[in-house]
Symmetry: C2
Subunit: 665 residues, 2 copies
C-alpha cells in the first residue's frame, strides 16, 4: 500500500507518473518537526536501512549521514555524503518494514543513525515536499510497489551488454582502430569503444574533430562492420563561441539558464566558458534533445551524458572576484588564516554551492532558482536525450547512460557509477551500489572497471572484471594521466580472455534477468537479506549478491587474496570456471565457507532447483547464440524451471509473450 | 648472516650502529643495473614481501609501488606511495627467503610487482647507498638480525601505556580539566591528555600561552596528582619573530637550514613564517634538544614531535612567485589549461618537492642539499630530543613519539601512524602497519583511534578502541573541525568503560610483551605468516595478528558487522569479554570460523599452552596491580610457561634479571 503525504507547495519533479491522492492525517512511523523541516523515526537496534541508490558505504546504510545533492566528486570515500545522484528512497527493515520516498528536488539529508545510533532523521531544505510511505509483504514487495510508482526503467540495446573499452581519451580514429585490432587479434571480446571528450572539436557538444576523426560516419560504419559500436560522450555545458550553431541558436531562443538579471549564466567546464541549456524548460529540453540527431545521423547508437550535476570548474563572476581578492595578498606575510583564506578561495572555485544559487530555470514560465531544483538537472538532460530518441529513432533502442540522476531519470537511461578510482575498495563499492540502484529503478548500470582515477594494477583489473562480467554495463574506463589499462597492456592474456569471454557465455542469463527485472519492476541484483530475511547471518552480508533468481555472486576484492569467505544461506552448487576452459562443480552445504579463487577463476553459486542458461560465447554480442543454450544447474530433489526471456535485442516489443520461454529440467 | 654491499660514496645516516665490513663481489638475489640505479629480483608467483614500515596497503606489500619519501599527506589511500616515514627494510618470503635494508637517505622506490607482477625492483635517486642482505633460519630470524643491526628500540615509560585523550586542540587548561573530570566521573580510565599546537603562544615551540594555560607547572602538577600526564606537541619549524629567544639564538648561532646563498630558508608552517633547525648538524641538534628543558622543567614527561617531514605550507620565495604569476591571469578568459595551471600553482604551494631542493644542511662541515637527505629530518629532530633527554633527565624515561621517521629513529622514540581518518578502512590499516613497523624497530606505536580527520561515528570509535587497547600507544585524537570524539560525547558509556577498562586489565601482558620485544629484538605484533609459515592459508591472512607469544587478535573493522571470520591455524581458546563484566571461553578447532562479536564485545584467542597475565584493572596505570595477577590461559595437554617481564616502568635498569619471572601453570 502506498500513501502519499504532501507538505507545503510541491515542486513537480515528474519522478512519479501517476500520483496517488494525498492522505489526510499524520504520516505513520515518523515524528514530524515542521520547524526543523524533519521527519524522525526511532530505530530498533536490529533495524537495517536500505536504499539511497548511488552513494557510499554499505548496502545497509545505517551509521552514516547522506545528502541528496548531485555532486561531481571523484573521491568516493567513506566520509563523503553525496555522489552524483539523488535517490531519495529507503526501506526500513526490522521490527517494522516500510519504504519512504521523498519526492523533493532540493538538498535532502538522511541521518541514518549518524548523530544518534537509534535515530533515522530526514531533513529537507525547505518545507515543500511529497512523501510516499509504502508498506508491503516484505522488502521485495515494497521495492516492487515503489518501482511500479516510478514507471518502467530504461531498456538498453542488446549490444550494450557486450564489453566496452574506454579511455579519457582515445585521441584519434586510428587509436580506436588500434584498440579494436588488439582485442580482436588477442581474441578478447569487445562490442564498443567509448569516445571521451576529445573526439569533439574543442569540447563542443555535437561537433566532431575533423582532423582526428575525419569522415566520422564512414569510420562509424567501418567499426560497425567489425561489430563495434562507438559511444560518444555529451557534456552538459555548451561552449560560448560565436558561430557555433548550438550556442548561437540556444542563445537566440533563450534556452540557456540565466542569472537573476536575465543575462546568461556562464561557467567554465571542458570547453572553457560555457552555457547550460535549461533542461527543466520543456522547449529547451526538446531543443537540446534534437541536437543528438547530429550524431544519430552519422550512425551513432549510443551516448553517455556527463558533467550534468552540473559540474562547474568556475564561474566567470567568481573567478573575477577571486582574482581581484588575490591581489590583496601580494607582498603580505600571510599568516596561516590568511593563507587558508587564499588557498580556500582558489579551491572553492569549483562546484561551489553558492554558484548554484546564481542561476535560474524557467519551469512552465516560473523562474526557479537552481539550488531549489539542483537534483533534477542531470535527470532532465538525459530525459532530453531519451525523449528525443523516441521522436528521432522511434524504432531503435539507443544506449544512454548518465552521470548525474534523480529518480525518474531511470525511465530514460542508465547510469554509470561515476569517476571511481583504481582502489580495491571500489570493487566492493561497485557491488554494494548495484542493489541500491536497482531499488531506485536504475538497472542498466555498472562501474568503471579497473578504476577511473589513480593507477591500476593487473590483478585489480582481473579481479574487478570478474565482478564486472555480471553488471549490465561492463566497461573498462580510465582517466587521462593514469596508467593505461586496456587489458592488452598487461601480461595475463589467457586470464583476461577467459574472464571477459565468460561474460559472453553468461549473456543469455544476464539479458534475460535484466529484461525481467525491468519489465516486472524487480531487482536484478539483490542483497541476501531480501531473499533470506529469516537468516540472521544472511541479512548482514555486504559482499555477496543474488543475481536474478538462480545465481549468487561473491567476487574477490582484496589484493593478494587467494580466495574469500562465502556464506551460503542454503545448500548451493558452486561452479568454478577455470582459465583452462574447464568447469568444476561442487555442492556446498549451507553455512560459512572459505573458497579458494585464483586470479583467473570465476566462481558462481547456483541456488537449488535453478538453472542458468548460457551460450558458447563469442567475440561480440552479435556472435552469441541465444537459442542453442547450455546450462549450469543445480537440481536438488525436484525440478528446475526457468523463464527465459529473449528478444532480438533491438526492437521494442518488450511485452510480446513470445519473448518468454519456459525451460524445465 | 648479514652481508653489506656499498655502492658509490655513502651518505652516513647512522641508522646502523656498527657496520659490518662490506663485501666484495656481486650482491646475491638481485640483478643490478647501475645505469638505472636499480636492483631487480624475480619473484615467484607465491612469493610474499613484508616490511616498509609505515605505508599503505597490505602486510604483504606485493602488487604496488612504494616510495620512501617522508610525506605530510593526510589521505592514507591505496593509491599513495608514501606516508610520513622511510623504512627501507623488506623481507622476501617464498622459494627463497632474505631481507634487504637499503640505507639511503634520499628518495627510494620499491616496485613490488606493480609494473610487472613478477618483478621486485628497488630504484634509488643517486648511486650512493649501502645495501644489507640478511639471510636466516626464517623470517623472524631475519627480522631479529636486522633489529640487532639497527640497535635497541626506544622504551616508553609505563604511564604511556595508559589511555590518552587528544584533540586538535584543547584550547585552555579548563578544557583539559573538563576532559579529565568527565573521564573520572564516568569511570573511564585515563592517563594522559595531549596538548596540540594551541597550548603554545602563537605556535612558538617551547613557549606557553599564559592566558589559556596560566601557571603551567602548577597545572601540570595538579594533573599529575590526578595521575594525568600532559603531553605537549613540538613542531619542527621555529617561528621567525624578533625577540623570541629560540629564533634569535638559533639565528645568531647559524643553526637553521640555509638557502644556497647562506641566508636562512624561510617557510610557513603553523606559526606563519618559520625557520628549520638543522637537525643533521650535531651542534644544532644538541641546541634544539636542549630547548625541551623549558618544558621538562615544568614537570612535563612526554612529547610528540610533529611536522617533521618537514611539512611546508609554503615557502616565502614560492609564494611571492606564485602571487606574481597570478597577476597574469587577471581579466583573461582562462581556458582549461590555463585554469589548471592557475589552480596547480596554488595547490603546489604546499610540500612542493622543488622546495626540498632549496635548502641545505651542514653535516660535519659539508653542505648537503636537503633532498639528498630528506628522509633523515624527522629522525634527527627526534634524536635531538632523545639525546637531550639522556643529558637532561638521565634517570627518567620520557615519552617521545614522532610523525616522521627513518630507521635509526626507533632508538629515540616511537611514532604514531600520522593523520589518519575516521574511516573503517583505517582500523585495518592501523592493524596492518603494526607488524611492518615492528620489523623496522618501531615498537611504541599506534594510530589515532576513532580517526583524526573526517567525522567519526560512535560505532567506529567502539570498534577501533577494541583494536587500540592492544597497541602500545593508545590514543584517541581528532582534528579541528571534525566531530568531537571523546568517548563521553556518545551514548554507550558502558561499552566504552568496558573496552577501555580492558586495556588496563591486559597491561601486565602488554607491557611484558612490549619490553621483551624491545630487549630481544623481536616483534610484539606478527602476521600469522611469521609463526605458521607452513600453513598455506595463514600466510595470506591480512586481518589478524599475533600479539606476543600467547595471543591472537582479530578485530572487527566493518560497519554494521555482527562479527567476522577468523582463521585459526591451530586449536585455540576464544575468550570473550562481555560488557556485563563476564567472560566466556570456548575452545575452537583449527580452521575457519565466523565469530559473532557485538559492538561491546572484545574477543581474543589464546594459543595452546599459553597463559596471559592480566590485572584487575584500574582508572589509571598507577592503579594497576602488576603483582597480583589473574590469568586467562589455554592448557592443552601440557604446561603453560610464561616469562613475565615487569619493572617499575620508570627506571632504566631494563636488563636487570629480576624483572623476569617465570610463571608456570
Amino acid at each position: 500500500m502506498i500513501r502519499r503525504y504532501v507538505y507545503g507547495k510541491v515542486m513537480e519533479t515528474e519522478a512519479i507518473m501517476e500520483k496517488p491522492q494525498c492522505q489526510e492525517g499524520t504520516i505513520p512511523y515518523f515524528t514530524v518537526d515542521e520547524e526543523k523541516m524533519s521527519f524522525s523515526f526511532s530505530m530498533e537496534e536490529s533495524d537495517r536501512v536500505y536504499g539511497l541508490g548511488e552513494n557510499v558505504r554499505g548496502i545497509n546504510k545505517r551509521g552514516w549521514i547522506y545528502e541528496s545533492k548531485c555532486s561531481d566528486d571523484p573521491n568516493h570515500l567513506e566520509d563523503r555524503r553525496s555522489l552524483y545522484g539523488a535517490h531519495n528512497f529507503i526501506v526500513v527493515d526490522g521490527k517494522v518494514q516500510f519504504g519512504v520516498f521523498v519526492d523533493y528536488p532540493g538538498i535532502l539529508t538522511f541521518d541514518v543513525g549518524y548523530t544518534r545510533h537509534s535515530e533515522l532523521k530526514i531533513t529537507a531544505s525547505d518545507w515543500n515536499l511529497d512523501v510516499y510511505v509504502i508498506e508491503g509483504e516484505d522488502v521485495k514487495d515494497i521495492v516492487k510497489q515503489f518501482r511500479g510508482l516510478i514507471g518502467r526503467s530504461y531498456i538498453a540495446p542488446l549490444w550494450a551488454f557486450g564489453y566496452g573499452q574506454s579511455r579519457w581519451s582515445y585521441m584519434t580514429a586510428d587509436e580506436v582502430r588500434d584498440v579494436v585490432k588488439k582485442h580482436r587479434e588477442l581474441g578478447i571480446p569487445l562490442d564498443s569503444v567509448y569516445l571521451d571528450i576529445d573526439y569533439m572539436e574543442r569540447y563542443k557538444d555535437f561537433t566532431l574533430n575533423d582532423e582526428t576523426f575525419p569522415d566520422f560516419a564512414e569510420f562509424n560504419k567501418e567499426m560497425k562492420e567489425q561489430n563495434i559500436h562507438l559511444v560518444p560522450i555529451i557534456d552538459a555545458g555548451v561552449k560560448q563561441e560565436e558561430g557555433y550553431p548550438v550556442y548561437e541558436e540556444g542563445l537566440e531562443k533563450g534556452y540557456f539558464c540565466k542569472k537573476e538579471d536575465g543575462t546568461p549564466f556562464v561557467a567554465a567546464v571542458w570547453p572553457g566558458k560555457a552555457l547550460f541549456p535549461d533542461m527543466l524548460n520543456k522547449e529547451a529540453r526538446d531543443w537540446f534533445g534534437d541536437q543528438y540527431k547530429f550524431l544519430l545521423d552519422q550512425g551513432v547508437e549510443g551516448f553517455w551524458n556527463d558533467m550534468n550535476e552540473p559540474a562547474i570548474f568556475y564561474t566567470e563572476d567568481r573567478l573575477k572576484d577571486v582574482l581581484e581578492k588575490l591581489d590583496t595578498f601580494k607582498g603580505k606575510n600571510l599568516d596561516l588564516n590568511r593563507f587558508w583564506e587564499f588557498t580556500g578561495l582558489v579551491s572553492g572555485l569549483s562546484n561551489n554551492v553558492e554558484d548554484y544559487k546564481m542561476f535560474y530555470h524557467n519551469i512552465n514560465g516560473e523562474k526557479v532558482r537552481h539550488d531549489r531544483v539542483h537534483n533534477l538537472f542531470g535527470y532532465n538532460m538525459t530525459r532530453a536525450a531519451g525523449e528525443a530518441f523516441e521522436r528521432l529513432e522511434p524504432d531503435k533502442r539507443i544506449l544512454m547512460f548518465s552521470r548525474s540522476s534523480y529518480v525518474g531519470m531511470h525511465r530514460y537511461g542508465g547510469i554509470w557509477q561515476g569517476d571511481n578510482k583504481s582502489w580495491w575498495s571500489h570493487i566492493l563499492l561497485n557491488l554494494k551500489m548495484m542493489p541500491s540502484l536497482n531499488m531506485c529503478g536504475f538497472i542498466y548500470t555498472g562501474a568503471d572497471l579497473g578504476g577511473f582515477g589513480s593507477d591500476t594494477t593487473e590483478d585489480l583489473v582481473l579481479r574487478w572484471l570478474a565482478l564486472g562480467i555480471f553488471t549490465p554495463l561492463m566497461r573498462n574506463h580510465s582517466a587521462m594521466g593514469t596508467r593505461v589499462q586496456e587489458v592488452y597492456r598487461f601480461e595475463n592474456m589467457d586470464g583476461f580472455r577467459h574472464i571477459i569471454g565468460l561474460r559472453y557465455r553468461f549473456l543469455p542469463y544476464l539479458y534475460s534477468e535484466y529484461m525481467k527485472a525491468v519489465l516486472r519492476d524487480e531487482m536484478m541484483f539483490r542483497p541476501l537479506a531480501f531473499d533470506y530475511p529469516q537468516d540472521s547471518h544472511a541479512v548482514n552480508v555486504e559482499d555477496q549478491l543474488l543475481l536474478g533468481d538462480g545465481l549468487m555472486i561473491a567476487p574477490v576484492y582484496e589484493q593478494n587474496a587467494e580466495g574469500r569467505y562465502v556464506y551460503l544461506p542454503e545448500k548451493m552448487k558452486m561452479v568454478r570456471f577455470k582459465v583452462d576452459g574447464t568447469t568444476e562443480e561442487e555442492i556446498l552445504e549451507a553455512g560459512h565457507h572459505y573458497v579458494n579463487i585464483s586470479l583467473t577463476d570465476v566462481v558462481v553459486f547456483v541456488r537449488p532447483n535453478h538453472l542458468i542458461p548460457m551460450s558458447s560465447g563469442g567475440q561480440c554480442v552479435e556472435d552469441v547464440d541465444f537459442e542453442n543454450l547450455q546450462y549450469i544447474s543445480y537440481i536438488d530433489n525436484g525440478e528446475a524451471v526457468y523463464e527465459y526471456y529473449h528478444d532480438n535485442g533491438y526492437e521494442k516489443d518488450y511485452e510480446n509473450p513470445e519473448h518468454i520461454r519456459v525451460i524445465r529440467m
